[in-house]
Symmetry: C2
């Protein structure tokens, strides 16, 4: 069932995605289902699937069209969802997660996708792929529903690291811009720095410093720096990429998700409250479906690790086939655009630029900043 | 027209609220309208209204029932919405905002309410009312729609200060618990510390330290410490009070507000998208109204300044009469419960407790923590 027709990442050749089939809470079926959806839309996609072939093979047997695009690499070793990153580093070798990242390292695949635990995935990715020279803290960038034409904004860091100094925030801006160009097709992304007010004097000292550095590098980074943005701008159409430290980003994203879910649940309750409300829901069905589609978190599934020599995408642990498909589509788009190479080049020229303008040293600031 | 029937804050006597009539973007009419709504529900309420009597008097003339409860103190001096706190401190004396807080300081009123600018209001409040002994950083506590029976959760700090060390977070917990008891009527509020995960080892060092200190003081503070909570818990029913630093709190709140507004706007669009959708909206009207009421930000209007010798409530700058009425209702509830005195007593016993358990010195930690 399984030899991939081409294993190398060659221009014009097929686009190969490495998939960790064992991570996640929804089981192998959700992952295979997501692969099938993506394969239907992108004819030149191929997969290297890492996982327990006893679980994977029977599912693929039922999907012969997909099976032709898939090579299965057997392993029964799994990094569990609650495994600490340090332990995953010590004992994760040979796991489906480890091997998926190894496929990117070896050049067999362009991008790896895993629904496994974020901490372990980042730790193993950093160990195997190494940071791009000049990047101190890699970041996780996520998509969020917005009023922009694409329907999406990008926010980073989402918790790869819990702190970030001015130099880190500068690199998040450069990397976020490159990601926006390659994932959303924006020529000149608009970058905003998350703060508690839009006035120049507001916020923490490192934000003031980062604002200056980002302004200086905007030209060479091919983005527009629009200044400070606030939490309310997460879904705004005045910005494309929101830059913040991993602690703040994680809280902002989860708070927004929690609120969206609250409103959704209240909406459901409002339309089931009385028999009349249930009748109204029938009339309102297509409107409610339209709303649901626009704010469906599965549609924006996929956190991209930025700052490594290779691209890894973290799919939500509880993603179903639709969610996994969104993450794989993102992987395909980035691979197709040669994102890893473009990102490395952007980071290098960003460092060069900040050296020349004297806004940064190109070497890491003290951890205390 | 206007002598208040009783100006002292006496047990069993009327409850006097000082109102800054000139702050805010919606004008004096919104504020007088809000007062009228509150007065209709609380018969023992009285107001001292600070502002331009040329603007206030004509509005009160049309509301004789309200006018009987109001004393107007004339001033045409206003702290503008964009005035920097430092400038407001230097030149704000005699303004409607300043005088409203002075009414609390003098004991004439129990609580002051202003729709004016937050920074200036906090600066003037700190100068006039002074911090409760032992409190290093006062906090702003806000309400947020939740799945709890009250329909509300409390979050603090919301941006009074942009940082907080472990000792500050401990005091936010103690103050937040007291606020929850007096505003929401919860006997033993459940306190959570905002972090990027619920596992004990997660997050910044000051959060680990604060977690230990809060655990030790929970008994004497008469609250339950439930551990770390995440952004998604903002509207959760497993917690009543969410404690965090002012930077994170501000971002989380605004991100949630922005998301709620996005979903609301998408919902509106979904129900106006086609003629059929508009028809469906008619059938769904009562369900949609029910939803709107549950997530109406006006219903949770009112940020309470905690940690000062006296209570000041910041109403949203763009609050209409319904919003102002919610803030005044909150002011009334707190005044009626003798909140200022209870809060001071709680802070004192919290400090005593943390001395005895050895988890804190009772004196401020270094600013660097």
């Amino acid at each position: 069932m399984t030899a991939a027709s081409n294993r190398t990442v060659s221009p014009g050749g097929p686009t190969v995605i490495a998939v960790d089939a064992m991570g996640g809470d929804s089981g192998v079926a959700a992952i295979i289902g997501g692969m099938e959806k993506s394969a239907g839309k992108n004819t030149d996609i191929r997969f290297i699937v890492h996982g327990d072939s006893a679980a994977v093979a029977p599912l693929l047997e039922k999907k012969p069209a997909l099976a032709r695009l898939v090579e299965v690499r057997d392993t029964d070793k799994v990094v569990s969802m609650d495994e600490k990153p340090s332990r995953a580093l010590r004992s994760g070798k040979g796991s489906s997660m480890w091997n998926a990242i190894e496929s990117v390292k070896s050049g067999e695949a362009s991008v790896a996708v895993s629904c496994g635990n974020t901490g372990a995935l980042m730790a193993i990715s950093m160990l195997q792929l190494r940071k791009i020279p000049g990047v101190v803290r890699p970041a996780i960038a996520v998509l969020w529903p917005s009023r922009n034409p694409s329907g999406k904004n990008i926010m980073l860091d989402m918790g790869a690291d819990i702190k970030a100094d001015a130099q880190d925030l500068l690199q998040y801006a450069v990397m976020g811009a490159s990601y926006a160009r390659n994932a959303l097709g924006l020529e000149k992304p608009r970058i905003g720095l998350l703060n508690i007010g839009t006035e120049e004097h507001k916020g923490r000292p490192e934000l003031q410093e980062a604002a200056k550095m980002i302004t200086d590098v905007a030209g060479i980074g091919d983005f527009e720096y629009i200044g400070f943005v606030e939490g309310s701008d997460l879904p705004s159409d005045r910005v494309d990429v929101i830059v913040t430290d991993g602690f703040t980003g994680n809280v902002a994203l989860k708070a927004s998700e929690g609120t969206a879910k609250l409103v959704g649940d209240f909406l459901k309750e409002a339309f089931t409250h009385t028999p009349l409300a249930k009748l109204a829901a029938l009339f309102a069905m297509s409107s409610l479906k339209r709303l649901k589609k626009r704010v469906d978190p599965r549609r924006v599934n996929g956190g991209v690790f930025l700052g490594l020599n290779g691209t890894v995408i973290k799919s939500h642990g509880s993603a179903d086939a639709i969610g996994v498909s969104a993450a794989i589509k993102l992987a395909y788009t980035l691979a197709h655009n040669g994102f890893s190479e473009k990102l490395a080049a952007r980071v290098a020229s960003g460092i060069e630029a900040s050296k020349n303008t004297g806004t940064g040293t190109g070497t890491p600031e003290s951890d205390e900043a």
